[in-house]
Assembly symmetry: C2
Homo-oligomer: 198 residues x 2
């Protein structure tokens, strides 16, 4: 592919995508070259469209075509509970359960001193502003149970405790369908200490 | 991501790429949403550019910005030998060795009755036309050594034999750096029957 500038340029742009190395980028570029004109134009237009027509909801910081977004403006949802997630995909996963009817707040990341992500790099300020101007009775923290997710949860809990609402964390324990014997020690520890009366 | 039409559209366009399932497409779409405007515009423009500014060289069928391509129009190359490859990437690999100085012919595929790829689906007609109107002394067939590559090589050899030039096939054998004991039976068979005096 060397020497053909438009292909080199495409390979280099594709290589910037996560999980796409130069070899995969070359393969994708070749696929593009062999694709229909209509498909390539649709792919390019949908890239621009996603960037131009989607904004951040000024309330929950989620991606949306409108501001506020469909979830934040839905009257039938429970506006007294906010579920805090790291990522838009986490919100989509929780929405997918169909068993949560409150609002969300998307942080767009998790605290990670090693990666240089401090409180100012994620949408924590926006959460505090939101909490100060609304009457929320429960803050449900649903960041991950990895080191960064836990640190973020603890940081937010500490920061928001003075406001006085109930702060909860989604449960950690043995996943549905799993065998006890295969669980790691940390998960079993959590599952034991988080036991519930039945 | 459901419900946000521009994102759904992008995910669906990305899902059509080879090796990209819906989950990867969602991850890529989210990356795009979080990327700089400049990057997304560059990616879109390079897709369109690769499609619009790159054509097939009418001589060798390779991708090129000019017609004939740089290789076909290079006078210092040996115009008496044509190396037949399935794919543009194969040509790039052979060029990468620096030890071949002839011309190429890119088939854009290999014969595969199971996948519905017959002689008319790949650039065999163009090869025959080219051979009939030029004085080529050697046709070096460098399709793969898988079933489809072998079938393609045999088909082309049979078809072009009446023209009277020398027809050769790149060597099959034990790869450089490999141990004999780990070679499969077929490769060893080939390596034995293809032995050369030293």
């Amino acid at each position: 592919m060397k020497g053909i500038e438009p292909i080199t340029r495409l390979v280099s742009a594709l290589s910037a995508l996560p999980g796409v190395g130069e070899k995969t980028a070359s393969r994708l570029a070749l696929y593009v070259m062999n694709s229909s004109d209509a498909y390539v134009r649709e792919l390019a237009a949908s890239l621009i469209g996603a960037k131009d027509d989607v904004m951040l909801c000024s309330v929950c910081m989620g991606f949306s075509e409108t501001d506020p977004c469909a979830i934040c403006s839905e009257i039938s949802r429970d506006h007294s509970i906010i579920c805090v997630v790291s990522d838009f995909k986490d919100m989509a996963a929780i929405e997918g359960t169909g068993s949560y009817n409150g609002l969300y707040h998307i942080l767009h990341g998790a605290l990670s001193p090693l990666k240089g992500v401090g409180p100012d790099e994620i949408k924590i300020k926006e959460l505090l502003m939101r909490l100060s101007s609304s009457t929320v009775s429960e803050l449900l923290i649903a960041t991950g149970f990895d080191v960064e997710g836990e640190a973020t949860a603890n940081y937010i809990a500490k920061l928001t405790r003075p406001i006085g609402m109930t702060i909860t964390r989604i449960a950690s324990g043995v996943p549905v369908g799993s065998f006890i014997e295969y669980m790691d020690k940390n998960t079993l520890d959590r599952a034991l200490s988080g036991r519930r009366e039945m």
